[in-house]
Amino acid sequence: MTRPTLDCEQVIAQIFDYLDHELDAERVDAIEHHLHQCKSCFSRKEFEQRMLAKVGELRQEAVPDALNERIRGLLKRY
């Protein structure tokens, strides 16, 4: 099987699909091949990955006790 060759524009256009694990194996392979060869696209990938991780740190904290009790109270009625 021949690996499709991607240019920088094509890789950057799919960088979020790649980071979000939304691409098939063949496309992932083509992108990773390009990333191994292209410092600029690799740097971009690293940056976007770091930014996504930073945003992910906002993920919700613990559930407030009052809500926890309220929902458990609801569930007991079912």
């Binding site: 740097s43 940056f47 906002l58 919700q60 904290e61 559930v63």
Partner: protein, 219 residues
């Protein structure tokens, strides 16, 4: 399918943190968020026969949460409905990236300006920027980047095609970066210049932190 009470309870309690997290971002109000979660659980229980498979529980209940939020908003006659989650905004944020503002290809240091920018962001910076996103963009960032739902799950939850999820998410992330960039510019960060001026600003620890109200907050 028939959902047992035990299965329903177990799933709801497992997802409670996620449901509350999304509800908080949607409503931007703690008490409203708790009401929204409670109303969602009640509606979900009443509609439990509409769940097609146990594996679909998460996207199913998130969809109920979303629909509950939208119908609640529509009931609030005093509040304009211009920020519907169904809206697809046309804007020019598509493709904006802080990387393009800061990246300097000839720097070979262990920490690049764009990486230093991200590392210097405080939780408060991100919270503020996220809150400034239009509702349709904020919710898709929350579902994808905080709650880690797949594009297919988000499409199911919002009732939109996967292609729309993809394009809206890209726009939302671009807009989020643009807001963060504007916030940073307001505090004195400069764009990349030949000669590395931005590099010095961006790599200085706390490039975004040097302001009075943020002392003591962790990143």
């Amino acid at each position: 399918m028939a959902v047992s009470r035990e299965f329903f309870e177990c799933q709801v309690l497992d997802l409670l943190g996620c449901l509350h997290g999304v509800a908080r971002r949607l409503t931007c109000h703690d008490a409203d968020a708790e009401d929204l979660v409670a109303e969602t659980v009640e509606r979900a229980w009443r509609a439990r026969d509409t769940l097609h498979s146990e594996e679909a529980f998460r996207s199913w209940i998130f969809r109920i949460l979303n629909n509950t939020f939208i119908s609640e908003r529509r009931r609030q006659a005093a509040r304009p409905q211009t920020a519907s989650l169904d809206c697809e905004e046309e804007d020019d944020e598509d493709g904006f990236s802080i990387f393009e503002q800061l990246h300097q290809p000839f720097l070979l240091w262990f920490s690049t300006p764009e990486q230093a920018f991200v590392d210097g962001l405080l939780r408060a910076d991100l919270e503020r920027a996220l809150a400034r996103l239009p509702e349709a963009h904020r919710v898709i960032v929350v579902l994808s980047d905080l709650e880690e739902l797949s594009y297919a799950e988000i499409a199911e939850m919002l009732g939109i095609p996967i292609g729309t999820v993809r394009s809206r998410l890209a726009r939302a992330r671009g807009k989020l970066q643009k807001i963060l960039w504007q916030q940073a510019r307001a505090y004195g960060l400069k764009a990349a210049q030949p000669g590395g001026d931005a590099g010095e600003h961006a790599q200085r620890p706390g490039a975004l932190q040097a302001r009075p109200n943020d002392h003591g907050e962790g990143s």
